[in-house]
Amino acid sequence: MILRDLRDPRGGGIAGATFKYWSVAPAVLVLAALTVLPALALLRMSVSTITFADGREHWAFTPARNVAALASDPGLAATIVNTLLFVVVAVAIEMAAGLALALLVGSLTRGKGVMRTILIVPILVPPVAIGNMFKLMYNYDFGLFNQILVAVGLPAVSWLGSTSLALWSIVLVDVWHWVPFVFLILFAAVEALPVDVMEAAHVDGANRWQMLARIKLPLLKPAIIVALLFRAILAFKAFDEVYLLTGGGPGTSSELVSLHLYRVFFEQNQLGYGALLSVLTIVVVLSLLGAGRRFVVGAGAP
């Protein structure tokens, strides 16, 4: 009875009725002003050419020109290929390493808390600092990686300066940065595995691998899919480290989608074409999310 009063704004009295609306108003206002309006502006920009003159902006309606720019953008093809390679390889490694770490730490009898604390540090460090740190470690002359290579008798390598290696050097940084995130999600799931099921399997004589393949992995599947979906989508956001480490180079060999958008918007000052590319990027990312969501619901995840 009381609960229904609470849930019915008219039943909750004047204070309840107005509280319901004004409490949500600031969030709606912020989202409308800073996401809905900009999204509409982005759509308008995507069919326009914007120039700055006499201290103000001038808009011209040029949809054909923006679409044509798509075909003549020299970096676009490389960006698409690089982004796909980056997302697939980085996320695959992150999932495998994150899952292995979660199972490994989950099997510890002591020190789980400490391990979790240490392992999630990379998520909280400013990505710019991570970029700088790896730029120092990748340094040809004195970087840690080449020091190790030389110490074991291998030749030094140009980690960021070679077209065949730059993208994979970026992948390595992304893996270092985000394995902890996959670990964190999957570790929570490992800790929540039902103890009675584990014990029953043990009593029935299941060995370590049977436990893993037949019991643990199937039970972890929803969490694995959620982590995979998250990483696959958020990998498109990678910007800070690429910007610092290679700036997309040499040439376009490590140019990823977010960096390409930055260059079109802020280096080439093509606001209209940049907006068109942005709209296309958003469509791709949201389609991926939609397709992935159906998959998640099918797997019985929350």
């Binding site: 949500v24 498109f236 918007f265």
Partner: protein
């Protein structure tokens, strides 16, 4: 360990013990991989330019790099620290209040299902798209409003990028409050605003802390927006730190020192509020 000793060890070790040792070795390796880069960069931040360039493992520590970063007029690091603190503190305060109120309303009151769904779908969509796609229209709008290169622009944008996670986090914390507690308050004559303020809010203080800590860290770390919506006057710490890597004459020592300094606030929050950080990151990702 010589060959015969190793042979002896493998004879006496049971397979289970060997698996266990392998597991511990892998754990030690993973700690090394996470901590190693910090230690190496920390060491370099105390090196003279010559010690850095020769890759020396033993060196005489110097504070020159930190002095350079903190006092150099060129980088304006101290000014950036002040800007970053101001922006992170303000945006965190706003987003915690805004998200808490909205989360409570959506959780407690009889909103139409489509309204709640629209809010969730929109915030998820905004959270997953690359933020650089929004920076273009923000740039145009803020220039038109005279807000380009102001702290206001940074606070506003940092509020909105943290709003989705803050909203979901607070909703999940409100869901964990037993409805009976609020019912009891209403029976005692509280109206809904009073029940929210005196009864429910004190119960979700851990949620407020988790949301606040995460919002502060994300604002502190944020680079893409700050890079493009500010110039020299309101550059944040990440923008200034990035300059060390991209200047024509790269100064490796100050670059290492600046990276370490930029990392300290996140590490401090990590140690004081790690329970909240872990809870926040896990819930924010899974819900």
């Amino acid at each position: 360990m010589n060959a015969s000793a190793r042979g002896l060890a493998s004879l006496t070790w049971t397979p289970a013990a060997r698996t266990r040792a392998l597991g511990l070795a892998l754990i030690a390796l993973s700690i090394l991989i996470v901590v190693g880069p910090f230690i190496w960069v920390l060491a370099n931040s105390f090196k003279s330019p010559i010690a850095i360039l020769t890759g020396a493992w033993s060196f005489t520590p110097t504070l020159d790099n930190y002095v350079d970063v903190l006092s150099s007029k060129r980088s304006d690091f101290v000014h950036a620290l002040a800007t970053s603190f101001a922006v992170a503190a303000a945006s965190t305060s706003f987003v915690v209040v805004i998200a808490t109120l909205a989360a409570y309303s959506l959780h407690r009151f009889a909103w139409a299902q489509w309204a709640v769904r629209a809010m969730l779908v929109w915030t998820v969509a905004f959270h997953v798209i690359p933020i650089i796609t929004m920076v273009g229209p923000w740039y145009v709008a803020f220039r038109a409003l005279g807000l380009y290169d102001t702290r206001t622009a940074l606070v506003l944008t940092h509020v909105v990028i943290n709003l989705p996670v803050a909203l979901w986090l607070m909703m999940s914390f409100f869901r964990a409050v037993p409805p009976e507690i609020e019912e009891a308050a209403m029976v005692d004559g509280c109206h809904s605003l009073a029940a929210f303020w005196y009864i429910v809010l004190p119960l979700v203080v851990p949620g407020l802390v988790a949301t606040g800590v995460l919002a502060f860290i994300f604002s502190w770390n944020e680079f893409t927006i700050a890079l493009n919506l500010t110039s020299q006057a309101n550059a944040t710490v990440p923008v200034v730190v990035s300059k060390f890597a991209n200047d024509y004459e790269v100064q490796h020592g100050p670059m290492a020192a600046a990276s370490i300094l930029a990392t300290l606030p996140a590490l401090a929050l990590m140690f004081f509020g790690q329970r909240f950080v872990v809870q926040g990151l896990t819930l924010g990702a899974v819900k």
